[in-house]
Amino acid sequence: MSFIHLIGFVLKVGHFILMLCCSMSCLITSVEMKLNQSGKLWVKFVEIFTKYSSMINVHNYQHIGSRKLRKTWLKKLLILWIAFGTIVCLWIFWYLRSQALEKRKETLGNMCDERARMLQDQFNVSMNHVQAMSILISTFHHGKNPSAIDQETFAKYTERTAFERPLTSGVAYAVRVLHSEREQFEKQQGWTIKKMPLIKKDKYNPEELEPSPIQPEYAPVIFAQETVAHVISLDMFTGKEDRENVLRARALGKGVLTAPLDLVKSNRLGVILTFAVYNRDLPSNATQGERIKATDGYLGGVYDIRSLVEKLLQQLASKQTIYVNVYDTTNISNPISMYGTNVPDTGLEHVSPLNFGDPSRKHEMRCRFTQVPPWQILAISTSFGIFVITMLVGHIFHATVNRIAKVEDDYHEMSVLKKHAEDADLAKSQFLATVSHEIRTPMNGVLGMLDMLMDTVLDVTQQDYVRTAQASGKALVSLINAVLDQAKIESGKLELEAVHFELRAILDDVLSLFSGKSQEKGIELAAYVSDKVPETLIGDPGRFRQIITNLMGNSIKFTEKGHIFVTVHLQEEVMDTIDVESESSSKDTLSGLPVADRNRSWEVFRPMGQNAGPSESITLIISVEDTGVGIPLDAQNRIFTPFMQVGPSISRIHGGTGIGLSISKCLVNLMNGEIGFSSVPNIGSTFTFTAVFLNPNGQQVNGQSKSNSQFCNMLAVIVDQRPIRAEVSRYHIQPLGMHVKIVPSLTGMRSLLTKGSQTVHVVLVEEDIWDQDLSKSSAFVYKLRNLDHQVPPKLFLLTNSIGGPRQCNGFSSPPVITKPLRVNMLAGSLQRAMGGYKDNARNGEIPNLSKLLIGRKILVVDDNNVNLRVAAGALKKYGAEVTCADSGKKAISLLEPPHAFDACFMDIQMPEMDGFQATKMIRKTEHTINNRIQNGDLLLQDYAYISKWHVPILAMTADVIQATHEQCLRSGMDGYVSKPFEANQLYQEVSRFFL
């Protein structure tokens, strides 16, 4: 039972430890295995591990030495674990061993008890029979007269009933003879009563026996079994043991036993059982005296213990496994061995008491295993196994701890290295920033000198050299600027400015920049800004332009045919995707060529809600779509990495350093936007970015508010089969104040003209429609000229490339407007063509400027009289009222509020006080006064009811370096115009304030 329990317990413990072991060894073995298996998995594992250890690390990072502490702690834990394991296995060993011992003891006890019981039973059986014989003698010897028993009868009877007494070797009967009766008795029997011989005589000869000495009474044996016939005539009173026995038996009336003694003649160790035979049936409570008086004789049985026990043991199985010893322990201090050999002590001994029915005698059986207990194989192996497992777990633990420590160390090393690397990177960026700045300054000098060299008298070769040098210099400066930007961004020094700017104007600028190239290549270049985008925005126009220029520059580099299309929308507008552009199918593009799916380029962007800034901020989404070669799939994931190009051959073919996109990405990030792209090789790429700007008005202004009076309410018809292209054309024409209609073909146009009630002023025909069928086109021209209307509509061709003059069937080709369309350019072209309508304009821009400047009070500040005079003259030309000041100080006093000036043009470089200082002073004064008005210190009516004084100040400078521009803005100026005035630029700057 308990053994099974034990096995169960051990199994459970084993299972638990195995599980523990598995889970930990998994960790380690998998490490080892994966090491061999594949590096990737291993790296991943290490990553996880490192993360884990770094977590610990971060946790403990502050306490220097806590790692060491932890290490010693873990070491202690390890030792504890091993000690625990050792104790457990020792305990299990002890437990198992004790269990085995217990079991052995039990087995021994059982065997011993069994033997003792059997011995006792058989003894009792024999005793009972001897007692029965005593009754037989009492009945038939003493009860009958003459006796019915003689020696012969007795011997025969006892011989035949010997099986009833398996333990006795013989029985004999001695009669009680008083001394007075001795003679008569001897005579009657025919022999004298003899004395018992001394024990341990070698020979037993009855003839040599001496007659019994005279005693008060005798107990001569008269009957005996054949086996003990030699004791007849011996007086039992003469043997010491026998006498005691006889006396005791007579007094007690029960069977009594002698101590083991050497039997007469056989010399074997034996025990004699004696029963008294009484002449009458005594009551059980008879006194000793009565009993002695009633005694007739004594019946004795001889037990040969050795043979008896051997006979008994032979009946039992497995007699060899144990030694049996039987002792008489009446005298406890000196037990007498009755049976058994002295064998070496085998440790375990079991004692079973024996009760042979004589209360004055005590016997016991002592049993021993014949063999020493066997080795406890089970206990040893189990505990050893557990010990091994413990050590194994300990080893695993140790290995794990070591591994963690190693990984931690590695991590530390890595983080230190990483920090070094980052420091180095930062240092590099700073160095780059400094160096490129330092390079830029002398480069400007070089370029300026080259410029001047160009203006001197040079021959053709020299001019070519200078031009080349200038172009190279410019390329170098732009490259340095790019590097500077990159470095600035990396070192976190780049900050965006927040000024008012016109998005549409910037787009037009960029388009003009690329118009030359696109016309050369015959690529259609177009921009479209959604009506919902406000006219002016607050942000960094320079950087915005840089991004657009970068993207478009790339596009134009890689596009040989088709189009490049820039679209600007509000983000929410695009997300709704209910728009002309977004519902377009892939075929319906600007040039009809397929393009990359635009939606895919922004699908990774954050959802709208997440970049919610202040309420007046608006998020624009700008896409640049081209039909170029596209980006190879394998290069797509690294195009935003600095200095990475699609392939090394790219820079050789197309030039560039590969930092444009990376800078753009950084700039977009600075504008709280995102940039993405989708590209299909040989189809094209679409780059999309978002940028967050502030809306100065807080509300959206419709772009049409700035309508040119000259073209107001005119009707323009665009003949174009492609809705998108027509939409773009409409976008450019509408700001002029014209109404725009779109018809898909010349036939449609013709029907519109014939039945139309409206007067059509301008007809714009796309080149491809015109070229489709030249005869049809000429017919159309003819038709136009002979229209019933008073004034035939003006016909224009919209074309991408500069071609030669066109001739078709005798008609000269209509005037051509070369794309990209821009508002200014378009207005100029239309004005030129429609000169007949309006005759006031010598220069297309002047009406605009006049409109802006007429009646404006403008202060011009310049220390140079000539310059002052020229500037004043120019502004007067546009209808402005000009006041002149020849120093900064005068300007300050004139511009102290309240004043009536609408704007101030200020020279920068002036003696005494330059333009920057003057502007700063003016702004300071304005600020103080504004504050005081706000606080109520000054009365509003004294200041023409203007609570916020801020006169626009524009710098006049011949120096158009970006740095100067930045300085202008820093010192509180609102913009700058180049000196001498350039009408277009003047218009652009002035329009920001006077619209």
């Binding site: 001047m452 203006d455 220069n843 310059n867 005079r869 003259g873 011949a958 000196k979």
Partner: protein, 152 residues
Amino acid sequence: MSSVLQLQRQFIDYTTSLHNEGYLDNQFTELQKLQDESNPDFVTEVVSMYFEDSDKLLNNLTTALQQRNVDYKQVDAHAHQFKGSSSSIGAKRVTNVCAHFKGFCEAKNLDGCLRCLQQVKQEYIFFRNKLEALFRLEQQILQAGGSVPMVE
């Protein structure tokens, strides 16, 4: 009438040559554009003002450079002024030389400055002569009853 036409052609040719030789640039054309009925003598006014200023400036420059300790800052300021007004007038070559002049001033190169001063004086005198000739031509045209043609 033919003489007017001839004069006008002569005027155009002369102006074009002035442009081509680099004496004048577009700024002068712009100035001419600014002249209209409301401001009939604008160009003459400005040019004569330029000449006055320039004479003064050249004097100043000469004296400044004759000092024992030349104050380059001062010289630079004069040169700048001269450069500014020249560029406003459209006197291209004068402007260019002024730019060189400024460069030498920054470098504090006395020799260069003196050389430049000579050059500037020379260019200025050339320019003055050419312009005065141009104005004479213009006057002749006006006296002949023609209008001064615009040269783009």
